[in-house]
């Protein structure tokens, strides 16, 4: 009996003692719809894993929360006019989390690793011929040919710097033991369950204000919102737009909205007879009620597309939005010889918002006689199917597919070249509609021949003017990112590409 009481008393003391410990801890739980695939930045293809890597590692350059390029581990940089040589002065006195010094040698180890061509993000270093060490804190990239978007390649999460000591110790297993120079240190990754990062006490940019952040995958929209409302998560992304009503009036929850660089559009199979006609493609653009699609299918969380790439990217030129004008659409269909329309197939991933949007496209195109069945499938099968098409046979099936793209380098080149150039025909890249136009190819090249923003700006302005009216796509909208957080959390920002930054995270009372 006595022993029992003692145990009980001990338990009570423990419980009481434990409470202040938890209350004093500055720990944040970040719930997302995505799962971590790897933590090796050089081998990462998804935005979510890349964003966690950014909390642990840093690159020579980085993005601020508005996707502007800022120097990070590099102090300054210079480049020549023809965009073939880029020199970086490195910041001194920085050490990796395992104590290894950050210097020119460390940069070389990382870039050389990328240049082996073995990793998913090796392509970022494709333009590079050689990396020269000038002195301990100066490196120079020599490129094979002019590549004006090279700074963006270095700001990309794929070019983050890992500790050379850790790379030697873990080899390609670095993906489960990342070590960088960032504000947080990797602590634990339980596959499929969570990734835990801990504050870096020696961070070179100053004191980190929270103790740890736990990244938890919660794929089901409703559960994520429920966790935030119940206080089991402090930050959720994405906040489903359909459920905004549930949190908007909650005094403990803030909703954050941020324009993105994710553009949504309809991919027209331009090799099919009906959709090869520019007038037909324009007619479809006139027949789409973009506002309705945004409000109903996307819960209002988007703005109408007004160019081939989103306004948050550099060199954007406003062209639209494309007006909703059924009379004009019918006129163009008649001029193209299809007054009664034709049949197509609508392809879409079965993710619910995209399926809704495709359904609305199907509903709206009936007005100009374009009808057809919807084929929906999981995202992987969808892209698998599109990338298996061949240019000489793809024309047999007139399809309209629901597409989307986020330029992960934050540059105009990556928003156009992989989608609309002839070199991007599948399986190489993502020109799934097989749009082929010499002028576009040349303008894309022109945009890369210089790193001078003025020269590039002119090329991209011309390109946007030209492509807009060619209507290779049905222009739809640009996503607005929505996150939701507990009121007392500050300093976590959603980024325009769907990633996030946690460096300034803090818990205020």
């Amino acid at each position: 009996m006595k022993a029992k009481h003692l145990v009980l008393a001990a338990l009570m003391v423990l419980t009481i003692a434990a409470v202040p410990v938890f209350a004093a801890g500055k720990d944040i739980i970040y719930a997302s719809d995505s799962t971590t695939k790897t933590l090796d930045p050089h081998n990462t293809s998804d935005t979510y894993s890349g964003a966690i890597e950014r909390a642990i590692c840093q690159g020579l350059l980085g993005f601020d929360k508005n996707m502007n390029i800022i120097p990070l581990l590099a102090e300054s940089y210079t480049y020549n006019d023809s965009a073939t040589e880029f020199t970086f002065k490195l910041r001194k006195g920085i050490t990796f989390q395992d104590g290894a010094p950050f210097n020119a040698k460390a940069v070389k180890v990382n870039i050389d690793r990328l240049m082996t061509g073995k990793y998913v993000r090796s392509s970022l270093m494709d333009p590079v011929k050689e990396l020269k060490i000038i002195d301990d804190y100066t490196v120079k990239f020599l490129l094979k040919q002019p590549f004006g978007a090279f700074l963006n390649a270095l700001a990309h999460p794929g070019a983050l710097m890992l500790s050379p000591a850790a790379l030697e110790k873990y080899g390609d297993d670095i993906g489960s033991h990342p070590v960088g120079t960032g504000p947080f240190m990797f602590q634990e990754w339980v596959s499929g369950s969570y990734v835990l990062i801990k504050k870096n006490p020696n961070y070179w940019r100053g004191t980190v204000k929270v103790d740890s952040i736990k990244f938890v995958p919660i794929p089901e929209n409703g559960s994520r919102v429920a966790m935030l409302r119940a206080g089991q998560a402090q930050y959720i992304y994405p906040m489903p737009a359909e459920l905004l009503k549930l949190v908007e009036n909650d005094p403990n929850i803030d909703v954050i909205k941020q324009p993105s660089i994710i553009e949504r559009y309809l991919i027209f199979n331009t090799k099919s007879k009906v959709l090869s006609d520019e007038r037909v493609r324009q007619a479809i653009n006139y027949a789409l009620d973009k506002k309705a699609i945004i409000n109903i299918a996307w819960g209002g969380a988007a703005t109408e597309a007004d160019s081939v790439f989103p306004a948050a990217l550099p060199f954007f030129k406003k062209e639209g939005p494309w007006p909703y004008d059924l009379a004009k659409a019918k006129e163009l269909m008649k001029a193209a010889g299809y007054p009664n329309g034709f049949k197509v197939v609508f392809l879409t991933p079965n993710a619910s918002a995209r399926l809704r949007a495709t359904q609305m496209v199907q509903q709206q195109l009936q007005a100009i006689g374009i009808t057809g069945e919807i084929q929906s499938m999981d995202v992987a099968s969808f892209y698998d199917m599109l990338s298996k098409n061949k240019p000489d046979t793809v024309g047999d099936q007139a399809f309209i597919a629901f597409g989307g793209w986020s330029s992960s380098t934050g540059d105009a080149d990556w928003a156009t070249r992989p989608l609309l150039s002839t070199e991007a025909f599948p399986p190489n890249m993502s020109n799934y509609g097989f749009f082929e136009d010499k002028t576009v190819d040349n303008l894309i090249k022109a945009g890369l021949t210089s790193a001078d923003p003025k020269v590039r700006g002119t090329a991209y302005a011309q390109m946007q003017d030209y492509i807009w009216s060619k209507a290779p796509w049905g222009y739809l909208f640009v996503d607005t990112l929505i996150a939701a957080k507990a009121k007392n959390i500050q300093g976590i920002y959603p980024m325009a590409d769907g990633a996030f930054t946690v460096e300034e995270a803090e818990i205020v009372q």
């Binding site: 359909e242 459920l243 549930l246 109903i296 619910s352 509903q363 069945e373 919807i374």
Partner: protein, 283 residues
């Protein structure tokens, strides 16, 4: 005093009448059939007509069950959905029953090697949970309602085969079958004319209950995006379409959910009633 003849169907009716809930379920099923057949005359709107300005309206005198995200009338879509659900349920079970009963008769009547093959194949099918087997079949054939019918039919076959086989085994030893054989009746005649009617009562019970299960399976497959494709007003597809709005616009999911629930329940209760009425041991 004229003597009253008591036919088996009168006995059946006497017993069935006592099952009050089964009678109600039967009436409900008749109502469903009526609604399905006359859907275009009953439904107040066009099931496919969208009206974005009326999107997600809660139930009102104009729209008894409210409108969905595209402004379509939910009641109308449920009424049209009755057609899809009933026809999928009945056709798939009918196909399954025809194949299953035939296989069961063959298996029980001939025995031996044929019996082994048929019953072991049935065991293989039994090893899979129904919905899993259906998903596998649809994965092979591709999504779509016709393939869902095939999938549900396939996993109905083994149960019918087993029920009929066991009945066949006992009936084929009965005196009247032996009499028929001694008079030179062919195997086919004995199987289908003399044995099959005797197995029907238990098949009918299973048939009815199976329709409920099939409707549920078909809806589940559509919910998973493997069955009816949008804009079809299939109940499961309607649920799938509106599950993102649970908590914000509950009427989107509640009404199709109730439709599935009541229909499946009705077929099960009706089947139970039939079983009780057919069972000679129950008075």
């Amino acid at each position: 005093m004229a003597e009253k003849t008591i036919t088996p169907s009168m006995i059946f009716w006497q017993k069935f009448k006592k099952q009050k809930s089964a009678v109600v379920a039967g009436i409900f099923i008749l109502l469903l059939v009526f609604v399905a057949i006359f859907a275009p005359f009953i439904a107040p709107y066009d099931p496919y007509a969208t009206d974005y300005s009326q999107a997600m309206m809660p139930p009102s005198p104009q729209h008894w069950a409210g409108t969905d995200i595209y402004g379509r009338d939910i009641l109308t879509r449920i009424i049209y959905g009755t057609r899809i659900s009933l026809s999928v349920g009945i056709s798939s079970v009918t196909i399954g029953a025809i194949v299953g009963v035939t296989l069961g008769l063959i298996s029980g009547f001939f025995g031996g090697f044929l019996d082994e093959i048929i019953m072991r194949s049935a065991d293989v099918l039994f090893a899979f949970p129904g919905i899993l087997l259906a998903i596998a079949v649809v994965a092979i054939l591709g999504p779509g309602l016709v393939n869902v019918v095939a999938a549900v039919a396939i996993f109905s076959i083994p149960t019918f085969a087993r029920i009929v086989r066991s009945n066949t085994l006992s009936i084929k030893e009965s005196l009247y079958v032996r009499a028929a054989r001694s008079m030179g009746a062919s195997n086919n005649r004995i199987m289908f004319v003399h044995i099959m009617p005797g197995t029907l009562s238990s098949s009918i019970v299973y048939f009815t209950m199976r329709i409920g299960t099939s409707i549920l399976t078909a809806s589940s497959l559509s919910f998973l995006g493997l069955g009816a494709q949008p804009p079809s007003p299939e109940w499961g597809a309607m649920l799938a379409e509106s599950r993102d709005y649970i908590g914000v616009a509950d009427h989107l999911t509640v009404f199709p959910g109730i439709a599935i629930f009541l229909t499946v329940l009705a077929f099960n209760i009706f089947g139970d009633g039939l079983r009780a009425a057919f069972d000679p041991k129950l008075q």
